[in-house]
């Protein structure tokens, strides 16, 4: 497990925390947040290369706050692999091997050589062992970096944007490898990224950090559908975030600050300030559409623009306020919509999340 109890980390004028977080043993946690949120500072504090200003750090039940990095037994993998350029792949992996469990033998000697071969097979780098780091692709470098980290038999693995410098094909292979290592070895992982797609591909637990504060900890779908704050909602890709307040005397309707109302369902928090609706929850309908479900909002507006992003497009509709709805390429063709068209929007009451 990984634990942060009241941890504060600072770098110059910027500080993160206080943070309280428990990642259960064997969990694959993803530390998410926009650039500059302080994710890497947290990782550096856990790795022991940056001293926290306050708080306690736990790895596998051991208080490591005052332990030097070399005694914490946490693996650290950076975005660019950071393989030691003066060593071969085998020597890079053996670097961690020499220091695990008191093994101080050369990598060609047994049992170090056996362990090296086993690791190489596990991460798929057997054919690369004699190569120099400069000759490897981004994906190969990350596999070697993982093998090197695993060689030191870490109690937890810390990954700092490990897939961001890797092409799409290699990324999928690495995602599978990371998940396999987590499941098969029972290794606790804390994976830092700002890429939501990457986070969904690997993560079992989302930890969202923004502006140095922990915003939300939860299952991936919880964070996606029930963001705890406007910051999380925006980071999780919610395209419709409106200032809102409850309509007096109507517990099923919200008044939006920019105009108009939205039907809502379920319990309403007393201090509701914003309504969040994901673009993919909104249905775009022809202007002369049939009446929609009673509990849902039915709006009409003029298309401002259509932003095509391959298989899906985002339609911006001025109701007001400006709503963004995601539609498939097929729907876009069927509806024959473009800038200036009048369309209907169906916003399910259940899709309106309040924060």
């Amino acid at each position: 497990m990984i634990g942060l109890h009241g941890v504060e980390v600072a770098a110059g004028d910027f500080s993160v925390g206080p943070l309280d977080l428990d990642v259960p043993a064997g969990e694959y946690a993803v530390l998410l947040g926009p650039s500059g949120a302080g994710k890497t500072l947290v990782l550096e504090a856990l790795a022991g290369v940056r001293r926290p200003r306050a708080g306690r750090l736990l790895v596998d039940g051991v208080d490591v706050t005052r332990l030097p990095a070399e005694r914490r037994r946490v693996g650290l993998v950076f975005q660019d692999g950071l393989l030691f350029p003066h060593l071969s792949v085998a020597e890079n992996v053996a670097y961690g091997l020499h220091r695990s469990n008191g093994e101080r033998t050369g990598w060609r000697r047994r049992p170090a050589a056996d362990r090296l071969g086993q690791l190489a097979g596990e991460v798929g780098i057997t054919r690369l062992m004699d190569r120099r780091p400069a000759t490897l692709s981004g994906g190969e470098r990350q596999r070697v970096a993982l093998a090197r980290a695993l060689a030191a038999r870490p109690r937890a693995l810390l990954l700092d944007e490990p897939l961001s410098a890797v092409d799409v094909e290699a990324r999928e292979g690495l995602q599978d490898l990371l998940r396999r290592l987590n499941v098969d070895e029972g290794l606790t992982v804390l994976h830092v990224t700002h890429d939501l797609g990457e986070a969904f591909a690997v993560g079992g637990l989302f930890v969202v950090l923004a502006a140095g504060r922990l915003q939300q900890v939860g299952a991936p779908l919880d964070v996606l559908r029930r963001p705890a704050s406007v910051e999380v909602a925006r980071f999780a890709g919610a395209r419709n975030v409106f200032e809102a307040r409850l309509v007096p005397g109507d517990s099923n309707r919200l008044a939006l600050a920019a105009g108009g109302t939205l039907r809502i369902s379920g319990p309403v928090p007393a201090d509701v300030r914003h309504a969040v609706v994901r673009a993919d929850e909104i249905t775009v309908l022809p202007a002369d559409h049939a009446p929609v479900g009673e509990g849902d909002s039915c709006l009409t507006g003029r298309v401002r623009r259509v932003v095509c992003a391959g298989a899906t497009s985002v339609v911006e509709v001025d109701v007001p306020p400006l709503f963004r709805a995601a539609i498939t390429a097929r729907e876009l063709e069927t509806l024959h919509i473009g800038p200036g068209s009048t369309v209907g929007l169906r916003v399910p009451a259940a899709a309106v999340h309040l924060v």
């Binding site: 990095a69 030691f84 003066h86």
Partner: protein
């Protein structure tokens, strides 16, 4: 694809560069040609020149070795840590570059001379810095130290600190990470600084002549011969030290340059 038509800008760069290279090469070449091969051979047969040459080269080497032992840790500290007074220390290390070298000699004399604080302390142990090889090493060390420390500091700063972070998580102590990860990546730069320092050391005159006129290093011998016997007598020792320095620099550069070539290829 853009054409490869030479521009006026690049032509100007080439002309400026050629002028500068000629400015450096002409006096050295003129001195070598003026001395002549026969005269150089004869100079090598003269005991005082041979002894002076060996003294100069070895004293500069000892000064460089001392600077390596104490200067590399300082360079690493300056490259990696921020602390109060860091800028002041960097300035102090660079001070000998701007010191007039005769003034440096006087300053050293006031501390390490017979009447100096350190000189008086060490005298009972038979250690003296005036008119001794130790004095020559001291003067060379003082004036040329910045070349090693500054170059090493810049080189260490270029090595990503995160390599050390990774090494630490793999079980290395801070010293182990430096020796096994950082230094192997920085050694060419450190060597380059050491060669520069050694080169600066062998050419030192002002500080050396104040602390130790004798035994004579090559610059002092050249000066003495010029004063006593004129230009022709001064040329052989001067040419010899220039040739030795040139050969050492050439060897060092051929060791260092392949890395630069590889860097360009990697970048593409």
């Amino acid at each position: 694809m853009r054409g490869r038509r030479p521009s006026l800008f690049w032509a100007a760069c080439v002309v400026a560069g050629a002028l500068l290279v000629a400015f450096v090469v002409l006096p050295a070449a003129s001195m070598v040609v003026g001395a002549g091969v026969g005269l150089l051979g004869e100079a090598l047969r003269q005991g005082d020149i041979r002894r002076s040459l060996w003294l100069t080269v070895s004293a500069a080497l000892i000064a460089t070795a001392i600077a390596f032992v104490v200067g590399v840790p300082l360079a690493y500290l300056l490259a990696r840590r921020d602390f109060v007074g860091k800028r002041a220390i960097e300035g102090i290390i660079d001070l000998p570059i701007v010191f007039p070298h005769t003034a440096a000699g006087i300053a050293l004399l006031t501390v390490y001379g017979r009447e100096g604080v350190v000189g008086r302390l060490l005298a009972p142990f038979g250690i003296s810095f005036t008119e001794t090889v130790a004095g020559i090493v001291l003067a060379m060390l003082f004036v040329s130290l910045p070349f090693l420390v500054d170059t090493a500091r810049e080189t260490f700063a270029l090595v990503d600190e995160r390599y050390e972070h990774v090494a630490r998580t793999l079980g290395s102590s801070p010293g182990g990470a430096f020796l096994r990860v950082t230094f192997p990546q920085a050694w060419r730069g450190v060597l380059s600084g050491a060669v520069l320092m050694w080169g600066r050391g062998i050419s030192e005159f002002g500080a050396v002549i104040i602390l130790a006129y004798n035994p004579k290093v090559i610059s002092v011998l050249t000066f003495e011969r010029f004063e006593g016997f004129g230009l022709r007598a001064a040329q052989p020792p001067a040419v010899l030290i220039v040739i030795v320095a040139f050969v050492v620099f050439l060897v060092a550069r051929t060791v260092l340059l392949p890395r630069r070539g590889r860097s360009r290829k990697d970048a593409s």
